[in-house]
């Protein structure tokens, strides 16, 4: 039996800077090939720590205190640097959060789009350019030949994000980490970008880890969801289950807090304080159990 694409097992980490405050508590999740998995939580919930761990860019201030992070059965946390670099950019790529800062202002779109194709696939010359044009067409950029010769400042935010998506899918990765790829964009552009990511991932049957704080986005794009709070998994399951039949009061409250397009006039209820008290009590309780055992 082949192992799942990504298997996180009982991963714990703490931040040295905040007096060894835990940032991940016993997190486990599985990701199969071709699956879109939402990592949801407010800021500080640990979702981007997981994403950074997958990309191998955990800051030096974060220490993994236990658990495994396996990619195709190999533990990424103990993988030698050389193997990690080979993996990076080829099997695991990133769609970054802010298209304004994630493109080098001094390099053409063509150069940045084809980095992966050149370095990882060894494409050169006409083949490289054809592939770049194909990629831009795939992400529905009109006049791809002109865009290839442009510099980032000549493109709109939505266009840049399309370029970054194309670059992320270019080397044919097995896993794409999408780090809140729509937060920095206009609401009108957001939907298109979400649809585009979904279509690209279906066409290339790529697995996607979708990091977001927005359950509404998750509902549109993800197959499965893991909901985090303060570094702990609160609830996980298929998107349909979690949205339709939420088990945990926090999940219910989050769903109630989002706008309900199906029932106008409802929703947008703030998460009540009582629920945060419950969460804190649960996290403190499980921490005690861990230390006791």
């Amino acid at each position: 039996m082949t192992p799942p694409l990504v298997a996180i097992e009982a991963l714990s980490a703490s931040s040295v800077r905040d007096g060894n405050q835990p940032v991940l508590r016993d997190v486990s999740l599985k990701l199969e090939r071709g699956e879109v998995h939402g990592l949801v939580g407010e800021s500080g919930a640990g979702k981007s720590t997981i994403a950074k761990a997958l990309l191998g860019i955990l800051p030096a201030t974060i220490h993994v205190t236990g658990g495994w992070l396996r990619f195709e059965g190999r533990d990424l946390l103990t993988l030698p640097h050389g193997e990690l670099r080979a993996l990076r950019g080829r099997d695991i790529t990133l769609i970054p959060q802010d298209p304004q800062t994630a493109l080098n202002p001094a390099r053409t779109i063509e150069a940045q789009l084809t980095d992966g194709l050149r370095m990882k696939l060894g494409l050169r010359g006409a083949a490289l350019r054809d592939r770049a044009l194909d990629l831009l067409e795939e992400v529905q950029i009109r006049d791809p030949a002109r865009v290839l010769g442009s510099y980032p400042h000549q493109l709109s935010g939505g266009m840049r994000q399309r370029v970054l998506i194309a670059a992320a899918f270019a080397p044919g990765p097995k896993l794409v980490v999408a780090d809140e790829p729509t937060t920095a964009l206009d609401v009108t552009v957001q939907k298109e970008i979400l649809r585009l990511i979904r279509r690209m991932q279906e066409r290339h049957s790529t697995a996607v880890i979708f990091v977001t704080h927005d359950l509404g986005v998750v509902a549109k794009i993800c197959d499965n969801v893991t909901l985090l709070y303060a570094g702990k998994v609160i609830e996980a399951g298929t998107t349909a289950d979690l949205i339709e039949r939420p088990q945990h009061p926090y999940t219910k409250a989050l769903i109630a807090a989002g706008p309900r397009y199906d029932r106008p006039g409802q929703g947008l209820e703030p998460v009540p304080d009582s629920i945060f008290q419950l969460l804190r009590a649960q996290i403190a309780g499980s921490a005690e159990r861990t230390t006791a055992s």
Binding site: I57, G89, D98, A102, N104, D115, K120, Y151, H153, A167
Partner: protein, 335 residues
């Protein structure tokens, strides 16, 4: 840069040069010590002296002298050197190439050495080596070219005599050259013996001029590179699997080079000023060395000519730097 702004800059440059000329002119007319007195024999009669004064136009009222001089300068007539009895323009033409070859060699050295140190510093960040490099760099920043030139004289003169310490080339080779651009000419003619000799003579003054420049470039570029290295696009490129060296050279360098370039331009103009003393120390026959002789000999036409040449160089470099900086910024050249 638009055409109008270039014309604007040239206009300002003309005013500055006019000011430079005026300042020198006025300054020199209050010099105590009559230049004529130094060139006549003790047996000369007052009539001889008056004739000589009239010959050099020194008997006219000051404003008139100035405008005659200015008119001549516009026609590229800088007059005749009193001490050397030759055309000022001709003298400058013979000496300026030496200074130009020296400063450009120092510029190339400074940019290369400073660039390499900056890149190495970024690659070695947070290691003890980085701190050591910063310390040495601090020394080079604090201590000026005059002192470095003498330190080099000391090192090479006493401890390790590998390079010649004075002149521009071995007199044996002097007859090999048809132009005053010795380095360029010897390379063009593929005469490697001469090239080697010219380069050996160039090394010491070049280091004295170029080391402080390298230090400035190293510090500014390193700061700019470090700033660029934490940008999102560098992180993304790192995730694409690029090596650190490639990240620095391909991703960060082009975005970091702007402020460094501007500063390099400023430093380069300082360096041209520095040639005056460095050429003196190494007995290098350039325009700066000649300038000091001219002052010591109260050679008014020669001093005026040299100062104007320095002023013009200064302005040309500033404009060139602006043009290059504009070229390198994609936002302006393509936008």
């Amino acid at each position: 840069m638009t055409l109008t702004s270039v014309i604007n800059r040239l206009g300002m440059a003309a005013i500055t040069l006019f000011g430079v000329g005026l300042v020198v002119f006025v300054l020199l007319r209050v010099v105590p010590g009559d230049p004529i007195a130094m060139m006549i024999s003790p047996s000369a009669t007052p009539a001889d002296i008056a004739a000589l004064r009239a010959h050099y136009g020194l008997d006219l009222p000051l404003p008139e002298q100035f405008f005659i001089w200015l008119g001549n300068v516009v026609h590229l007539d800088f007059g005749t050197s009193i001490s050397l009895r030759r055309g000022v323009l001709q003298l400058i033409g013979e000496r300026l190439p030496a200074t130009l070859e020296l400063t450009f060699a120092a510029l190339v050295f400074g940019v290369l050495a400073g660039g390499i140190v900056a890149v190495a510093g970024v690659l070695l960040r947070r290691t003890p080596l980085e701190a050591a490099m910063d310390f040495v760099n601090g020394l080079f920043l604090a201590v000026p070219d005059f002192v470095w030139a003498l330190v080099l004289v000391l090192l090479v003169g006493v401890l390790w005599p590998i390079f010649p310490l004075s002149g521009r080339l071995d007199p044996v080779h002097a007859s090999d050259f048809m132009t005053p651009f010795y380095l360029i000419e010897s390379i063009v003619r593929l005469n490697w013996t001469d090239t080697g000799d010219v380069l050996a003579h160039l090394v010491m003054p070049m280091l004295a001029l170029g080391l402080p420049l390298a230090a400035v470039i190293a510090r500014t570029l390193k700061e700019a590179l470090s700033e660029a290295m934490v940008q999102d696009y560098v992180l993304l490129a790192r995730l694409k699997g690029m090596s650190e060296l490639r990240l620095v050279l391909q991703e960060a360098l082009r975005n970091a080079v702007g402020p460094t370039l501007t500063l390099t331009g400023v430093q380069f103009t300082f360096m041209i000023g520095g040639t005056v003393i460095v050429e003196r120390i190494f007995a290098f026959p350039g325009i700066g060395n000649m300038a000091i002789d001219a002052v010591v000999n109260r050679d008014l036409p020669l001093i005026q000519g040299i100062v104007l040449v320095f002023g013009a160089l200064f302005i040309v470099i500033n404009i060139a730097v602006d043009l290059i900086a504009n070229r390198l910024n994609p936002r302006q050249s393509h936008g």
